[in-house]
């Protein structure tokens, strides 16, 4: 056990894991976090807390993660390389750990150009793969970057990275995942999967490299709420590919039935994803739809969540 978190135990016990996602509010409003946590609690094994996603200022991921712990929901706190140099990163990992966070996801982070602070100075002191290596060094060697002196406490951390099967260069995407595993990733959560054919190809390349045996891979699933959302994501969000078949289905139903169609598609995708060799769980990104997450997970046959010791 790297951290002994519920999430890690579920995976280690061989259960098909389910993680969720919680976007902190664009304010200091604790009630929003509590409410969203309430929807997710009991339906998932752990919840990812996004770190100023799309570069829009939100409540700190570590603070929201700590609130989730108080609510009895285990967090995976996300850390991007966009806003912190290596001093702040290591300091925040210490802080998050002290607050009881056991799972961490290391990301590059969306560029500031997307958000509401476009003229800020981007940091990117180190990259997401270097962040994984840094976190592993803190945990396994109890050493800061470039420092040989050990600190004298134990740091438990289950370290994750993102995988993207749907970006160019396709040929390099599994090889880049190998670099994350090499750096120390214990688990990987992928970008939202809609294109099963390409996802299966990517997983084949991942298996050929033996990566599915070196880290736990969870496939990203994001329910489409409307045809407009699908069209927007396909056109604008890098790393998202929505096949024509799914677009047609979203367009073929009346607006008020689109959400239900999106959920149906998600459930079918989860069913197909479970058949892919080497996949150990799903990461459900019900963005601003946390209240529907439980229903999706239940209809996918993934409730109740396992109790592990």
């Amino acid at each position: 056990m790297k951290a002994g978190s519920n999430f890690e135990k579920v995976l280690a016990a061989g259960h098909f894991a389910v993680t969720g996602e919680l976007g902190p509010p664009q304010s200091n409003n604790i009630e929003v976090v509590k409410k969203k946590a309430g929807f997710l609690k009991g339906n998932i094994d752990a919840v990812n807390i996004t770190d100023n996603q799309t570069s829009i200022v939100k409540m700190s991921s570590i603070a929201a993660a700590a609130i989730c712990i108080q609510q009895g929901l285990e967090p995976v706190f996300q850390m991007t390389c966009r806003d912190r140099n290596r001093i702040a990163m290591q300091s925040d990992i210490f802080g998050a750990s002290a607050l009881g966070c056991l799972n961490m996801l290391c990301l590059s982070g969306d560029h500031p150009n997307f958000g509401n602070q476009k003229t800020s100075k981007k940091v990117f002191d180190i990259d997401s793969i270097q962040l994984i290596a840094l976190a592993k060094r803190l945990r396994d060697e109890r050493k800061l970057l470039d420092q040989e002196k050990q600190f004298n406490s134990e740091l438990k951390l289950f370290i994750g990275g993102a995988g993207n099967p749907f970006s160019r260069p396709f040929e390099f995407r599994a090889l880049r995942l190998a670099k994350k595993v090499m750096a120390g990733a214990d688990f990987v959560q992928t970008q939202c999967v809609y294109d099963m054919e390409r996802f299966r190809d990517w997983m084949k390349a991942v298996r050929d490299l033996g990566l599915h045996e070196k880290c736990y891979i969870l496939a990203g699933v994001a329910p489409l709420r409307s045809a407009d959302m699908a069209a927007y994501m396909a056109a604008n969000v890098p790393g998202i590919v929505i096949p024509d078949g799914i677009m047609k289905r979203m367009n073929s139903v009346p607006k008020d039935k689109a959400g239900e169609e999106g959920i149906k598609i998600s459930i079918e995708l989860i069913e197909e994803i479970r058949q892919v060799e080497g996949i150990k769980g799903i990461h459900l990104m019900a963005i601003e739809w946390e209240h529907r997450a439980g229903e999706i997970i239940e209809r996918a046959g993934l409730l109740p969540r396992p109790k592990v010791e």
């Binding site: 990259d127 270097q130 749907f166 160019r168 040929e171 190998a178 670099k179 750096a183 890098p238 790393g239």
Partner: protein, 227 residues
């Protein structure tokens, strides 16, 4: 070479409007090559400022002079007298040139006419592309001659991030900007050098944290600090 672009006229006017004897000091170096602050551009700027002052009913005497280089002591003397006679200097050099003139004439207000943008290449006449951020720890050896610090919008060393567009391999921030790491991959692959990016490259040793001074090889003895 260094690439720069003229500031808005209003901004320049705002800096110099209270002065009566104004010298526009052009530079014959890089800014001349990129057509931002050479002799011709300096003359044009002077004429435009004369007109701007006239429209704003302000009186000032303008002079224009072009130095060979504003970043080199060899050429300082050429402009010494003309600078001394002016109330203020509006320099069309890069940031380095402006500072060197200001340092050489500490009692004289020296203002920048340009925004210094980057070290880049001349794609065509009047069209320039950034290529180097002077990080001080050149990575081009393992990246197929494509700079990840400059060309990747996140300056990452183990790219590409997940933001490369599916359809055209462009960067997540702009469809017009090709993903540097997609290009690095393609070039290394075509040269049979993919192994260069299959290992984890360690964090950068950032050299730009404090002002740098460089002593060229062969000159160590000459500039050795006295104990």
């Amino acid at each position: 070479m260094v690439k720069a672009k003229l500031k808005p006229l209003e901004e320049i006017f705002g800096m110099i409007r209270s002065y009566k004897k104004i010298l526009t000091l052009s530079c014959g170096g890089c800014v001349s090559v990129c057509m931002a602050g050479g002799q011709r551009e300096g003359m044009e700027l002077t004429l435009e400022l004369v007109e701007f002052f006239r429209q704003n009913r302000l009186d000032a005497e303008f002079t224009h002079y072009t130095m060979e280089r504003q970043c080199n002591p060899e050429y300082l003397f050429d402009a010494e007298e003309i600078v001394r006679e002016a109330d203020c200097v509006i320099s069309t050099a890069c940031g380095a040139g402006v500072q060197y003139i200001a340092e050489s004439h500490p009692s004289k207000p020296v203002f920048p006419a340009l925004n210094t943008l980057f070290i880049g290449i001349d794609r065509d006449v009047g069209l320039y592309e950034e290529r180097c951020r002077t990080c001080g720890d050149c990575k081009l050896g393992y990246t197929g001659g494509i700079c990840p610090i400059t060309r990747c919008s996140k300056s990452i060393l183990n790219g590409p991030c997940g933001g490369t567009h599916f359809s055209d391999g462009s960067c997540e921030i702009d469809r017009e900007i090709p993903c540097a790491w997609n290009d690095i991959f393609e070039r290394l692959k075509s040269q049979g050098r993919l192994e260069n990016i299959l290992t984890v490259h360690p964090p950068s040793i950032w050299m730009d944290q404090a002002q740098r001074t460089m002593v060229q090889y062969g000159f160590e003895e000459r500039y050795r600090k006295k104990e």
